[in-house]
Symmetry: C2
Subunit: 206 residues, 2 copies
Amino acid sequence: MPKKPTASQRKQPTQSRSRQMVKTIVDSAARVLIDEGYESFNTNRVAEVAGISIGSLYQYFPNKKALIEELSKQHLLQIGESINKDTIKLKHLPLEDIVRRLVRSHIQLHKVEPELHRILSNHVPETSAQSWKNELLIDIREKLFQLLSQHAQTRHIKNLSLALFIVMETVEAVVHAAVFEQTDELINGAVEEQLTRLIVGYLTSS
Amino acid sequence: MPKKPTASQRKQPTQSRSRQMVKTIVDSAARVLIDEGYESFNTNRVAEVAGISIGSLYQYFPNKKALIEELSKQHLLQIGESINKDTIKLKHLPLEDIVRRLVRSHIQLHKVEPELHRILSNHVPETSAQSWKNELLIDIREKLFQLLSQHAQTRHIKNLSLALFIVMETVEAVVHAAVFEQTDELINGAVEEQLTRLIVGYLTSS
DNA sequence: GTATAATACAAGTAATTACTCGCATTCTAT
DNA sequence: ATAGAATGCGAGTAATTACTTGTATTATAC
């Protein structure tokens, strides 16, 4: 629509005033996405909802894309965190317990603001299927690899990387779909149950 | 951007001239999506690529959304068709053969213009997670239900609908991801192999 | 051949929106 | 207290773009 975006980075907030502002902006961005959808998401609206000036927004985010990316990044980091916590607790338990817990955590994470996660997973890749997102994903895959590879039951798997690729895509897709459809099965735990069975079966069979 | 779209339907093409034009428009829409991405997709550009007037486009499509929906519809119908064909050939074969064939067909379908399918699956729901898309999906689920439910090995499954929901989401996601990443595993059939194993294991276990 | 309907055209419009820039305010350090 | 840096403001701009409308062309019916 307008002038080309300046590819450059923006100022880092150093005073607490501005750090607060960045938080407000990001939160409002999420709110706008959730309440008004991706199509109506625009920087002017975000500034308005945040109760700040559009100029201030552009002081910290070089363009619209950067806002969305920040949200996506936060979500991926959150997932990584969750896996870390689970890893500590579960390292020595049977495979089934590990998988069930990972699945449950992932569902839990997506139960808050499911709409946001759906929008993010649909609309972020468009732009930078590149570096940082891939790095975070690889990091997550790495964590899972560590956690699973030391389990005797997975020793027989020729290509654990491929298996992990499939498992990750599967969990992500099913959880997104289930959370989005708000099915009863989600509430009563059937999805958790079935997903766990699906994955454990896959990881332990010939 | 401009005036609000007229929600009404547009003219049905009756002369062969105009039927050809509609085809050209739809094809060009796909081309623009593939070559220039969703963000740059706009009706003026589609008309230009199609070599026709923007006015003509709006004679047959009430708005931009309708163009995308038409493409999405065609894709879902294609999947339905593919399942129908497979059903005829496979009805009486063992479960594993059925699943493998369905998976293979689905991969095959997505190997042509993978980018298009990725964009469609990401950007269509935004608008009408409603009626027609759901109907087509339900129709597909129905076909699969018929095909699988008569197999002795699936008799023990308490909730075949839930199982199908999970299986469909899984296949869709893994195939999209694999096709998009253009992995070697796709080419040498490893993805087909693993997906089949995953699903057959799930459908035949406890 | 002519009237009528169907089809095609494309210049133009109104609205939206990403982003800038010059100025105002508030903080920090000395 | 004051300079200078950091932060904040928001009217304005340039570009994009979905869609309309009046007119021109082509097909069909009689």
